[in-house]
């Protein structure tokens, strides 16, 4: 079964960048533009990994995490934070909420991919034969 990865970020740029990063791999990608939408998609799709921003409108990443940890179906879903926010307080808060990893923007795509592959199986898609 394909891994399901959900990116939650209000920046379309980051969502597109992650789509580009994970497209070569056999996985299903889902996207949400804020924490509330992210919670809805996570509840519906039960992703194997969530890549989550902190600073977002409507509902921030920490609030989304808190809601997830109160939900028996989502409380063990692995989360990697991907955020420009690097304050020790926030890092400590999300660590208590059980995030697997914390990546600060700007970020190295290969490093993020390596961290994601520790959580989900990332198998390259077979090359499409040339027409």
């Amino acid at each position: 079964m394909n891994s399901k990865i959900l990116s939650v970020d209000d920046s379309k740029t980051i969502r597109m960048l992650l789509r580009r990063l994970f497209t070569p791999f056999v996985c299903e990608l889902f996207e949400a533009g804020d924490g509330k939408e992210g919670l809805d998609v996570a509840t519906r799709e039960k992703p194997d990994l969530i890549i989550l921003d902190y600073n977002m409108p409507v509902m921030d990443g920490v609030t989304m995490l808190r809601h997830m940890r109160e939900n028996p179906e989502l409380k063990r879903t692995p989360v990697i934070m991907l955020t420009a926010e690097a304050s020790p307080e926030i890092i400590s808060t999300v660590a208590r909420l059980g995030v697997r990893d914390y990546v600060t923007k700007p970020f190295d795509s290969d490093q993020l991919l390596a961290k994601a592959s520790r959580v989900v199986t990332l198998e390259r898609r077979p090359e499409t034969p040339e027409a």
Binding site: D10, S11, K12, T13, I14, M16, L17, R20, N55, P57, T83, A84, E85, A86, S87, P88, E89, T104, K105, P106, F107, D108
Partner: protein
């Protein structure tokens, strides 16, 4: 830098470190500080401006990035892997400024000035300057991308200590 004050030199160094880190890590581009004085004043063409606010109990401020449209197009292509449409180019410019401001904020935080970031705003037009407020610290630096002929770009940072 002390908790009670910091000087413009510090702000220029903080800005330069933030800018260099974002360009090298995210875009794999090296940048050079311009030796020309205000190179964008003679620039003919569209500039994309992105601003992000920084607000905390002890500080408030703004980071403003101004880049020529040709550079914004190139950055968009690097980040997204293809030429973006107008909305995508604006979004990439905003995200770039957000990352730079995040790094500036991290340095201010470690110096005893915790703060939160605002949402990036993006506009298009001619060169603009942040309105300098009273005792606020202000830094304006001009840069170019090494090996690329896309023109100079500008970063302005203004931070006011709330007393």
């Amino acid at each position: 830098m002390t908790n009670s004050s910091f000087v413009t030199d510090d702000l220029s160094l903080i800005s330069a470190r933030a800018l260099r880190e974002v360009f090298s890590k995210q875009l794999k581009l090296q940048i050079l500080e311009s030796q020309e004085i205000d190179p964008l004043s003679a620039f003919v063409g569209k500039l994309l401006h992105s601003a992000v606010s920084i607000n905390g109990e002890k500080i408030s401020g703004t980071v403003l990035l101004q880049i020529p449209e040709a550079l914004a197009l190139q950055i968009t292509e690097i980040m997204l892997g293809s030429a973006g449409d107008a909305e995508e180019i604006r979004d990439v410019t905003g995200e770039l400024c957000n990352m730079i401001t995040g790094r500036v904020k991290a340095e201010l935080h470690s110096s005893g000035f915790p703060a939160t970031l605002g949402t990036p705003t993006v506009s298009v037009g001619q060169r603009i300057a942040l309105q300098q407020r009273g005792e606020a610290q202000f830094s304006s630096t001009d840069w170019s991308v090494e090996g690329h002929d896309t023109g100079a770009f500008n970063l302005q940072v203004q931070i006011r200590i709330i007393t």
